[in-house]
Each structure stands twice: as structure tokens, then as C-alpha cells.
């Protein structure tokens, strides 16, 4: 399978085009009645990568606090006011605030030091937009994996669902689980402290998360990404409330290495 990668947002994005799409192009060419289309689809992997890269670059340039020239950094410094910010930034802020409300304030874009930090939704919004860009190119079989957060479309190959592996935080070259993403389930996100220890802030005095790693599987990438963050930050109460409120499956690794999973992630119960 074609796997293409590029670096952005401090991590790596992997794009895969399902084999049905590529096989279809070859079949069209072979029949000789779709020459133009065959060329278009054959070129698609490059065009697809360019489209995805463009989307991520735009989000990163506007929302990265690691870039001094980004709009969010200018707001953080007080160079511009939120009310003077672009519609894109204000829309993103509105989405983050909406998720704050939907998670009882566990997820929040307001950093303890007063800085507005939208990174909790930016990556998943970029993934979602990249998916739209791929659909705009007429592609229906693909996966976009940005730093371990995954959105898929169509099938991996004819008759084969996309399968997502969940990494074992205790042994990062092994998998805890492998989960077929059967429509409408299309997205997986994992949060934890394994590599970016401080990237999820816990509430003041909240102490460390009871979870070392939390994977959430569901219908759309923004929801699963936000909820994975929320459960890490909010602990058992957030886990209970999230599975009560949203159609998701969760696999959580506790600090002692033991596992908690929803029914759909237990073998024999999918």
C-alpha cells in the first residue's frame, strides 16, 4: 500500500490510499474507455498528499504556539485582541468552547497561565479538513494518521476494513489491540503521557491522571480526540460520563498497566 508521510505540527502525518482506488484506476486504463480518468487517478497519490499537506500547513501556521509569527502567538502576546482575530481562529475558539461545555469544563482551551491554546482541537480539525480535501479530489478510500490520531474512509482493500492498531504504552513496538474500523466508525485517537508528558494539562491540584493511555474510537475525529484528552485529564468520572454521553468505544491503560475497555473492544463481543 502506498504510504506517504510528511512532518507537521511537531509530528508526522501518514497518508494511505486504499488499494481499491488504485486498482480501479488500473482497471479503467486497461479497459481503454477511461484514459483521462486513469491518468487522473494514477496521479492521485501525489495530488492527495499535496492537498493534505496544504491543509495541515495552513492550520499549523495559524494555530501553532511554537511559531512566534502565528496568529495564536500574536494573541498570546497581546499583539492583537481576540475580537480582531480572523474568522477562522474565532470559529476554532468557538468549537473549543463548545467542547468545554460538552465535557463539563474538563476540556478547555484556556491554559492555566492565561494563554489561549487551541491545540486540543486544531490537529483533529486539520485531519477532518484533510479528509474533506481528499473527498474533493474524488478519493473515497484513504486513511490519514496524524501523530497517532486516525481518520479513515472506505476500505483498506476490497473486503478488508481499515484496521487500527492500539499501541502498548509499556512496549511501544507492540500492539494492545487491533480494531477494524467498520463504518460508521471511522476515527481513533489516543492520548497519554508516554511521549508528550505535559501536553495535557490537568486541572489545578488535580494530580496525575489515573490513566497512562486512553484510546477512543468513534464516528468522527474531533470527538474522539477531544474525549481522549478529556478522559486523561478528567479520570474515571470523565470516562464514565463520556461513554454515557457519546457513541464511543474506549480502551484505557491504567497507571499500573491494567486495562479497562468498553464492550466493543473485548474479543468475541464486537
Amino acid at each position: 500500500m502506498d504510504a506517504q508521510t510528511f512532518e507537521t505540527m511537531g509530528t508526522v502525518v501518514s497518508l494511505r490510499i486504499g488499494s481499491t482506488a488504485r486498482g480501479g484506476a488500473m482497471r479503467d486504463g486497461g479497459l481503454g474507455d477511461g484514459g483521462t480518468r486513469a491518468v487522473t487517478e494514477a496521479a492521485a497519490p501525489d495530488a492527495a498528499l499535496a492537498a493534505v499537506r496544504t491543509v495541515f500547513t495552513r492550520w499549523d501556521e495559524r494555530f501553532s504556539l511554537y511559531r512566534p509569527d502565528s496568529e495564536i502567538s500574536r494573541i498570546a502576546r497581546g499583539d492583537i485582541r481576540l475580537t480582531q482575530a480572523s474568522a477562522e481562529l474565532r470559529d476554532c475558539y468557538a468549537i473549543a468552547l463548545d467542547w468545554r461545555d460538552r465535557t463539563d469544563g474538563v476540556f478547555t482551551p484556556h491554559r492555566a497561565d492565561g494563554v489561549l491554546d487551541l491545540s486540543g482541537v486544531v490537529k483533529s480539525l486539520a485531519i477532518a479538513e484533510a479528509g474533506e480535501a481528499l473527498r474533493g479530489l474524488g478519493l473515497s478510500e484513504w486513511s490519514v494518521n496524524a501523530g497517532g490520531d486516525l481518520l479513515v474512509s472506505g476500505d483498506q482493500s476490497p473486503g478488508q476494513d481499515w484496521v487500527a492498531g492500539i499501541v502498548d504504552p509499556a512496549s511501544r513496538h507492540e500492539l494492545l489491540a487491533s480494531v477494524p474500523l467498520v463504518a460508521p466508525v471511522r476515527a481513533v485517537a489516543t492520548s497519554g503521557s508516554a511521549e508528550r508528558g505535559e501536553h495535557i494539562w490537568t486541572s489545578a491540584g488535580g494530580g496525575p491522571s489515573p490513566y497512562r493511555q486512553v484510546s477512543v474510537i468513534g464516528l468522527d475525529i474531533v470527538t474522539v480526540d477531544v474525549l481522549a484528552t478529556t478522559i486523561i485529564a478528567g479520570g474515571e468520572a470523565a470516562l464514565g460520563r463520556s461513554i454515557e454521553t457519546f457513541p464511543i468505544e474506549v480502551l484505557a491503560v491504567l497507571r499500573d498497566g491494567s486495562l479497562v475497555a468498553t464492550a466493543g473492544l473485548r474479543s468475541g463481543q464486537s
Partner: protein, 178 residues
């Protein structure tokens, strides 16, 4: 009176224990067993975890047990000769409403130490509570869903940095062009 107070205290701490038992991760599996019809044999050995004669203020730490009354019904009269601090017997707690449904437990105390806690009753308020208790259970690694691992094209892990990516499974998959 001291004996009664001790029993009440035991039940109060039992309530706390019950909530911890219910909400805690090992609890949910036991809960499922119970729901699955395997009777009421879901017991938790609590000898180590419960100061049986803690003060009744223990209930303050568990707002969810507000409906629990400390008026325990003793199904086995504590041995009359036993000193209050070393109460012995089996006590049945009140029905406690929890977010998972109603439950009732009995506790066996030997010489002031809880030796056994048994779920006596667990009725579900509504179908949702069944769903909840079915949906967040401890599992062994071997019990987690594993599709054909040969088909795994993508790995989801805690966000890997650019550097972390280089040593990740995902990088291996990408390099293999799988």
C-alpha cells in the same frame, strides 16, 4: 448503644466501600457477572481495605450514598459477649441508589474486621444502567479485541513527536509501504 453505633459505623463505611467497590474497576466485572445471572456470588474481600469501626463521617466522602441510612439490619445478632470494638456477625446494608442502579450488600465482620462483602441485590433502574455497567470493564490483555494483526496499516498511540515517530511502529509500517 456502643454496639449499635459500631454496627452503624460499619455499615456506613460499608457504604463507602460499596461505592468504591461498585465504581472501582474490579467492581464492574463482578457487576456484570451478577447481571449475567451468575447469582450473587460477587464478593470482595475487604479485610485490608476497611477500617470497620471508622467514624460515620466516612459517608461524607461519598455523596452518592446520601440515600443510605445507617440503620443496618443485623441478620445475625452480634455475639452478645463480644466487645463493641470487636463486633462479629453479618450485617445487611440498606438499598443504596447509585448511578449504576440500586444495590444492597451484606458484610461479614469478625472481631471488628470486615472479612467479606457480598452483593445481595442489584436491580437496574433502567436499561441505561445495564449498558453503562456493560461498557467500562476491566479486561485482561488477552481479552482485548485483536483483528488480524497482519492487516494493521495504522497505529494509534499517544501523540508521537517527530523524533518519537522515527522509532514508532507507524514508521515501520510506513517504511514497509504497507
Amino acid at each position: 448503644m456502643r454496639k449499635r453505633a459500631a454496627a452503624a459505623a460499619a455499615t456506613a463505611s460499608l457504604s463507602v466501600l460499596a461505592i468504591g467497590w461498585l465504581v472501582g474497576t474490579p467492581a464492574v466485572a463482578s457487576l456484570q457477572n451478577t447481571l449475567g445471572g451468575s447469582a450473587t456470588d460477587a464478593t470482595v474481600s475487604a479485610a485490608a481495605s476497611a477500617p470497620a469501626v471508622s467514624t460515620p463521617t466516612a459517608t461524607a466522602t461519598a455523596p452518592a450514598v446520601a440515600t443510605a441510612t445507617p440503620t443496618a439490619t443485623a441478620t445475625a445478632t452480634p455475639a452478645a459477649a463480644a466487645p463493641a470494638a470487636g463486633v462479629t456477625g453479618t450485617f445487611t446494608g440498606s438499598v443504596v441508589a447509585t448511578r449504576f442502579g440500586n444495590m444492597q450488600v451484606s458484610v461479614t465482620i469478625a472481631a471488628g474486621t470486615i472479612t467479606d462483602v457480598t452483593a445481595l441485590q442489584l436491580t437496574d433502574k433502567d436499561s441505561k444502567s445495564v449498558q453503562i455497567s456493560n461498557r467500562a470493564a476491566p479486561v485482561l490483555k488477552a481479552e482485548v479485541l485483536k483483528a488480524q494483526s497482519a492487516a494493521v496499516a495504522n497505529v494509534s498511540g499517544a501523540t508521537y513527536t517527530t523524533q518519537g515517530y522515527l522509532t514508532s511502529l507507524q514508521a515501520a509500517l510506513d517504511a514497509a509501504g504497507f
